[in-house]
Amino acid sequence: MAIEPGEVRAVIGPNGAGKSTLFNLITGVLPPTDGDIVFAGERITGLPVHRIIQKGVARTFQLTHLFPALTARENVRVAAQARHAGRWRPLAGSALFAATAQAADAALDLMRLSGVADVKAGVLSHGDQRLLEIAMAIAQRPRLLMLDEPTQGLSIEETDRAVHILRGMLSDGGLTVLLVEHDMEVVFRLADQITVLHRGKVIADGPPAAVKANAEVQSAYLGGLDQ
C-alpha cells in the first residue's frame, strides 16, 4: 500500500486484521519479516524507532501514552523539543524553552486544550487526554501523522467533538495522515482514501464511496454490521 503526500488515508478492518501491526512496522517497533518500508523516497526498514520518528513521522497510540505527572503544556513542549533544531545546544536552554513552549501553545490551541494547559496530564478527562496526545504529535510538525484509533473509548459527544476538531485541523491542509479507526462514521467523515485490511492483506483500496460499495468489503467487514 502507498500513501500520497497530503492525503488522509484511513485503514479499516476487523480485529486482528493487522492495523496496529502496520503502525508498528512503519515506526520500527516491529521488524518486518518481508518487504520494505519507504518514507519520502528513503528506505527506512529496520531503523530504530527514534531515527524513523526524526525523519518526520509522528504517531499516537491506541492506548493513551502520556507523561501523567507533567502539565499538558509540558507534555506537548517535550514533544516539540524532540524535533527542534536547537535541542543539542546546551547553552541555548531558555531560547529552546521559549520556542518549544510557543509551539506547544499553538498545538494546544488547535486541539482546543488551551484552557487545561497547566493541568497535569494524568488528571485530564479521557477525551482531553486523547486530544493531548494528538497535540503532541502535531507539535512535532510531522510529514506523516499516524493516528491509532483517536476516538477509542470516547463517548458519543466526545467523539463528535474530537472529529470536529480533527476536521478543523485537516482543513488547513498540508498534513499527510494515516488513520486507524473502528468507528465507520468517523472514518467516512475524516478520510479521503480508505484501505481495507483483512488478515494482513489489502482487500480494497479507494475513495470512501467506492469502498463502501465494494462487495468483498461488505462481506468481510461492513456487512457484519448491517446484516
Partner: protein, 325 residues
C-alpha cells in the same frame, strides 16, 4: 525564599567552622561528603527513575582513583581529586553502556553487579589496591604552588563545602535544562519518549555517567579526608545506605538527598555511640518515612510552602523544568 534560606545555611556553616570544636568540624565535613554522594544518586533515582543498587561503585572508584593519584603522582590536592574523578568517569562509560541495555529490576541488578565486581577486583589486584587492608597513609600534598590551605581541617572543610555547593548548582542547572526535561519524560514514560523521537538510551547513559561523576567526586573527597581507603567503600551496604538517604531526604529534589545524607550520617554517629541497636532505629525511621512521608525530609520542610499558591520562581525544584511563562 528557599534560595535565601539555603544560602544563609551555607554562610552560617562557613562562619561557624573556625569556632566549632575540631571533632564536630570533622563530623560535619563527612556529613557534607555523604550529602554530595546522595545527591549524585538522586539524578538517577529521583529525576530519571533509574534505581541503582550499586552506587557504591561510583564512590569507591572515585576514592581509590584519587588514592592512587595522590600516592603515586604527588599532585596538588585539588588536582589529585579532579584526576581521580576523571578516571572514575572514564570507567563509568562502559558501565553505563551495559547497564542501560536493561531497565527496571535488571538495571538495578546490573549496577549492583558492577559494584560487587569492583569489590572483588580489589582483592584480586592486591599489589595495586592493597587487598583487604586497603591503602593507608594517603597524603594531602600541597603541590608545587603551595596550596597548603587545604591541608588543615578547616581548609579541607571549605574545599568540601565549595565542591558540594558547586555540584549542587551544576546539577540544578542540569535538571532544569532541556536535558532535564527529557529525563523527566523518561521517568514518566520511556516508551513514549522513544515514540517522540528521543534516543532515550543515550540520555540514560549520559545521566548515569554524570551521576557516577558526582558520586566519584564525593568518594574522591573522602580519600584525603580519611587518609585511607578500604574495600568496604564498594560494598553493597554503602549502596543500600545511600539509596535510603535519597528516599528519606526526598527523591527528585537534589537538596533533599543532601539533607538526607548529612542527617543520616550525624544520626548514625550519635546513635552508634548510644546503642548497638542503631540499625534497628534506622530501619524504623526508613519505614516511617516511606509510609507516612514518601516526599521525604525536604518534602516535609516545604509542605507548607507548597500549599501556598505557587510563585513562578519558588519551589520549581520538584517539577520538571518549565518554560518561563
Amino acid at each position: 525564599m528557599q534560595r535565601v534560606v539555603l544560602a544563609a545555611v551555607v554562610v552560617l556553616l562557613c562562619a561557624l567552622a573556625p569556632v566549632v570544636p575540631p571533632f564536630t568540624l570533622t563530623l560535619i565535613t563527612e556529613a557534607l561528603i555523604f550529602g554530595l554522594f546522595a545527591m549524585s544518586l538522586d539524578l538517577m533515582v529521583g529525576y530519571t527513575r533509574l534505581y541503582s543498587f550499586g552506587h557504591a561503585a561510583a564512590y569507591g572508584l572515585g576514592a581509590y582513583a584519587t588514592a592512587l593519584m595522590l600516592l603515586h603522582f604527588d599532585l596538588p590536592l585539588p588536582l589529585g581529586i579532579l584526576a581521580g574523578v576523571a578516571l572514575a568517569v572514564v570507567v563509568a562509560v562502559p558501565i553505563a553502556w551495559i547497564c542501560t541495555k536493561s531497565t527496571g529490576v535488571s538495571f538495578a541488578m546490573l549496577t549492583l553487579a558492577f559494584a560487587q565486581l569492583g569489590y572483588a577486583m580489589l582483592f584480586r589486584f592486591k599489589d595495586v589496591t592493597g587487598g583487604s587492608d586497603g591503602i593507608g597513609g594517603i597524603p594531602r600534598p600541597a603541590g608545587p604552588f603551595g596550596l597548603a590551605v587545604f591541608q588543615g581541617k578547616l581548609g579541607y572543610f571549605y574545599l568540601v563545602t565549595f565542591c558540594l555547593v558547586g555540584s549542587y548548582l551544576l546539577c540544578r542547572v542540569l535538571v532544569r535544562s532541556p536535558f532535564g526535561a527529557v529525563l523527566a519524560g523518561i521517568r514518566e514514560n520511556d516508551a513514549k519518549m522513544r515514540a517522540l523521537g528521543y534516543n532515550t538510551r543515550a540520555y540514560k547513559m549520559a545521566v548515569v555517567v554524570v551521576a557516577y561523576g558526582f558520586g566519584a567526586l564525593a568518594g574522591a573527597l573522602y580519600t584525603p579526608f580519611a587518609g585511607f581507603v578500604a574495600p568496604e567503600l564498594f560494598f553493597w551496604l554503602v549502596s543500600g545506605r545511600v539509596l535510603i538517604m535519597v528516599v528519606v531526604g526526598g527523591a527528585g529534589t537534589l537538596i533533599g538527598p543532601i539533607i538526607g545524607g548529612a542527617f543520616f550520617l550525624m544520626l548514625e554517629h550519635e546513635l552508634s555511640e548510644a546503642t548497638d541497636l542503631w540499625p534497628l532505629i534506622f530501619g524504623a525511621i526508613f519505614i516511617a518515612f516511606v509510609m507516612l512521608a514518601p516526599e521525604g525530609i525536604w518534602g516535609l520542610l516545604t509542605r507548607h510552602a507548597r500549599t501556598q499558591p505557587p510563585r513562578p520562581d519558588d519551589d520549581a525544584d520538584r517539577e520538571a523544568p518549565r518554560a518561563a511563562s
